[in-house]
Amino acid sequence: MAIINLKINGKAHSVDVEEDTPLLWVLRDHLGLVGTKYSCGVAQCGACTVHRNGEAMFSCITPAASLTEDEITTIEGLSKNGDHPVQKAWAEVDVAQCGYCQAGQIMNASAFLKKNPAPSMDEIDEAMNRNICRCGTYHKIREAVAMAAKSE
């Protein structure tokens, strides 16, 4: 076991876990930040997406111990009142079906739009291709990313 110091959503956290514990499980089991989802555990589906220094990252395969120097943002810290332009676009377009993958989709989309504020539809497709939605909300995800890009 090791004490790992993390900065998550602007706050300092200290957890005592095995050194190889992925950030995902630190968030979910030790910090109660369960908005970040487990689905595949092998960086294939994107449900676990968080921001590391503003960049989208799969938290399921990244040991927390490797992130002590980084600013981590989870869905809970993306905005204060759920009013990040991407969250607002997601609500306006009514994107969710079951909703399980959507936090990861939003985290991926928000990191992407920060880098590319005026993307083409093809660029949106390319960026969002790393997140799986088993319900098939892809049309609405695409529409919402485009809407958020316009509103930002």
Partner: protein, 721 residues
């Protein structure tokens, strides 16, 4: 937004940990644009609210709580059910908050998500619940004002007396109204007066979903609970020996326990258990058939040829029709096993105590969860509570309570509250799959290209029937024979979104396309001729489908897709009836630089009245994407009783770039609403395969396409038109 602050998340954890009410997953979040700062918490509303019936309570503040009994897995029932209640109540939708009801078999008749059956079952019940409450509220106002109830009208939660100009909110008469006796008969609204039903209403849980609130079973936490993960046996095998020494040495592992054919690692958090499970050394030995996909291929062929078939339907004299035929067309179609793979893996919380069991988690059928716990513990069902969390997808997988049973076993053995979590690998290897199936179709045509004989023999697995013998084309063919051969597999199989029809529709609609081609007829025209025959002079006995509604969606599909009018667009048509709903689809492929590109799928649906257009579009598009994804890529193969594909790196699910445009249209047939969770999936594969044939003359008779050489050579592009 005010009801959804960061404090609420903590409350969730706290409430979940300290009260029997436990999981509190409902709230009102209609729009992030209009925060209401003075919003009462749902607990505050409920503390003063009066119950009118199993579906609704009204508080003096005018806030309305509507209970949604059926599990929500993305079919949007938690929004559409309350819409129906609120409609008849004439409620102000912005004052409605929705709560997931716990399992309560006294209050609710059908707390089940499956078969696309919720709306048709509950439509009238929900309307009556709203209408009855409205009747009582109006009666209370009439009494208060000493006027006749006939003189009063209602709108958006307010009762008006036109003559005197008086008005009063529902909340202000709720206490009095709740004391009155409900009438035995109640008049429902005329559909033309609907104000909420038929309008696009957003998912009531959007806010919680988009901010990462704990809604799902896997998010559930209770102070002091243990975590568990399980190693399961391959299908057809049993445990021979267990060496758990290394697993027990992992920090965070508390115990390793064995029950039935399972080994559970138990600990204080998830990650150590994932590691420990990999360190378990469990040897297995055969305990029945240990199956592989290669064997299945041979078994299917043998059973098609020589299997003992059960006749499901026989019209006319089939043998004679084939003997007299000018032309016979025959083809075989086969699909592989599929995993349900909902994004949220299986999980459940169970707390077994001396005389009661508490269950919390994602289930499509809470009653089965209760039954499973009763079987494991011997505790009476009335002492077993089930709270239903939001489900991160289901697709039929959560109709089985195997994972609930497991959680109960471990809680009982550990004498502690336990949350069981399945890994993705567990989900793919310990599934209850859509079984593989093989069909042989034969068609007899006369000299004019009329379909005079039709035979279908299906070889299904663990299913009494792999056909839908009373569906189209039954009724339209004079001589028809539908047979089923069953194969009992040791691999667990289960309902998978649109059971049976998820592949049968593909096979049948592709085969009919082959027959139309052989008859030198346009595929839509060919179907229309058959419909007209079934309408004018239906053959045989029972028919499950309404020919006029088949004609309705087919005609609209031809019109909306501009069928056959544009020589640059190669089209494929498919039409299917399942789960009380009628769906026609046309896939458009355009040739670009000599290669085909799938651009659009037109979907025409007759589900009767559309309750929520935005929710309906979701189900239609979701069904099409699901149908397309699994036709193209879905493939689970077995070797030695275990799936070869154990995670999403090998088990391919459809992604953003692989989805064409999907245009949705609805036939206004005037019928009461039917379900949409399943019926849009079955026709999709056929529409795409038929378009591929139209563009390339290559016929795809097996799924997934990606495994067929005829397909991979095509390099089919996918572009949204």
């Amino acid at each position: 937004m005010a009801t959804l602050t960061k404090t609420n998340r903590r409350d969730f954890l706290k409430i979940a940990g300290t009260t029997a009410g436990g999981l509190f997953i409902g709230f009102n979040w209609m729009s992030c644009d209009s925060p209401k700062m003075d919003v009462l918490s749902t607990e505050e509303v409920l503390a003063n609210a009066k119950n009118f019936n199993a579906f609704l309570s009204i508080a003096p503040s005018g806030d309305i709580v509507i209970y949604s009994p059926n599990p929500e897995l993305g079919q949007n029932i938690k929004t559409s059910f309350p819409m129906v209640v609120a409609e008849e109540l004439d409620a102000d939708w912005s004052k409605v908050r929705v709560l997931q009801a716990n399992l309560d078999t006294d209050k609710y008749e059908r707390q089940l998500t499956g078969g696309s059956g919720a709306m048709p079952h509950s439509w009238e019940r929900l309307r009556k619940a709203g209408a009855t409450a409205k009747f009582l509220l109006v009666a209370a106002a009439a009494k208060k004002w000493e006027v006749s109830a006939d003189e009063l009208s209602t709108s958006e939660g307010i009762i008006y007396h036109k003559a005197s100009g008086k008005k009063i909110g529902y909340g202000e008469v709720a206490n009095d109204a709740a004391l009155l006796t409900a009438p035995k008969e109640i008049t429902l609204k005329d559909k033309k007066d609907f104000k909420i039903i038929g309008t696009p209403v957003k998912n009531v849980e959007n806010g919680a979903i988009f901010t990462g609130e704990p809604l799902f079973g896997l998010d559930f936490y209770r102070e002091g609970m243990l975590h568990a993960m399980i190693q399961r046996a391959p299908f057809g095998m049993k445990i021979k020996s267990i060496d758990d020494a290394a697993a027990r040495n992992v920090a965070g592992v508390k115990d390793v326990v064995t029950f039935e054919n399972s080994v559970a690692v138990v600990g204080t958090s998830t990650w150590p258990l994932m590691k420990a499970k990999k360190l378990l050394k469990v040897e297995y030995e055969a305990d029945g058939k240990v199956e592989s996909s290669a064997d299945h291929d041979q078994i299917f062929k043998d059973l098609l040829a020589n299997g003992k078939a059960e006749v499901k339907r026989e019209d006319g004299i089939v043998q004679a029709a084939f003997k007299n035929a000018a032309q016979v067309v025959s083809a075989e179609y086969q699909c592989p096993f599929l995993s349900h793979s909902p994004m949220e893996p299986m999980n459940f919380f169970a707390h077994v105590q001396a005389d009661k069991v508490e269950l919390i988690g994602p289930t499509q059928t809470p009653e089965s969860a209760r039954r499973a716990a009763a079987e494991v513990t011997g505790i009476a069902p009335e002492n077993i509570s089930v709270e239903i969390t939001r489900l991160g997808g289901g697709f039929g997988r959560r109709l089985r309570a195997d994972y609930v049973s497991e959680a109960v076993h471990v809680s009982k053995m550990m004498n502690a509250p336990v949350k069981l979590t399945w890994s993705r690998e567990d989900d793919l290897t310990g599934g209850a799959y859509r079984p593989a199936v093989r069909y042989r179709f034969e068609a007899a045509l006369d000299t004019d290209g009329n379909l005079i004989g039709y035979k279908l023999r299906g070889v299904g697995m663990n299913a009494g029937n792999s056909t839908r013998e009373h569906n189209f084309p039954a009724g339209a063919v004079d001589n028809l024979l539908i047979e089923n051969v069953n194969y009992e597999s040791s691999i667990t199989t289960n309902a998978w979104r649109a059971p049976i029809t998820n592949f049968l529709a593909y096979a049948e609609q592709s085969f009919l396309d082959e027959v139309a081609f052989a008859a030198k007829k346009d595929p839509v025209e060919f179907r229309m001729e058959l419909f007209q025959k079934a309408k004018a002079n239906p053959v045989g006995g029972e028919l499950r489908y309404d020919v006029d509604r088949m004609i309705g969606v087919t005609k609209m599909a031809a019109e909306k897709s501009n069928w056959g009018k544009n020589p640059n667009v190669k089209q494929g048509f498919s039409v299917y009836f399942s789960h009380r709903t009628y769906v026609a689809q046309v896939a458009d492929i355009e040739m670009e630089n000599g290669t085909p590109s799938l651009k659009k799928i037109h979907v025409i649906t007759d589900c009767g009245m559309v309750v929520n257009p935005t929710g309906a579009d979701h189900q239609v598009r979701g069904g099409v994407v699901d149908g397309m994804g699994h036709a193209m890529y879905g493939n689970l193969t077995f070797e030695g009783g275990l799936p070869t594909q154990t995670n999403f790196d090998k088990y391919r699910l459809i992604r953003m770039k692989e989805v064409p445009a999907v245009d949705t249209y609805y036939v206004d047939s005037g019928f009461d609403p039917t379900g949409l969770g399943e019926p849009c999936l079955p026709p999709t594969g056929g529409a795409i395969a038929n378009a591929i044939f139209s563009a390339t003359e290559r016929r795809l008779r097996s799924q997934p396409f990606i495994e067929q050489k005829e397909f991979t050579d095509l390099k089919l592009g996918i572009k949204r038109a």
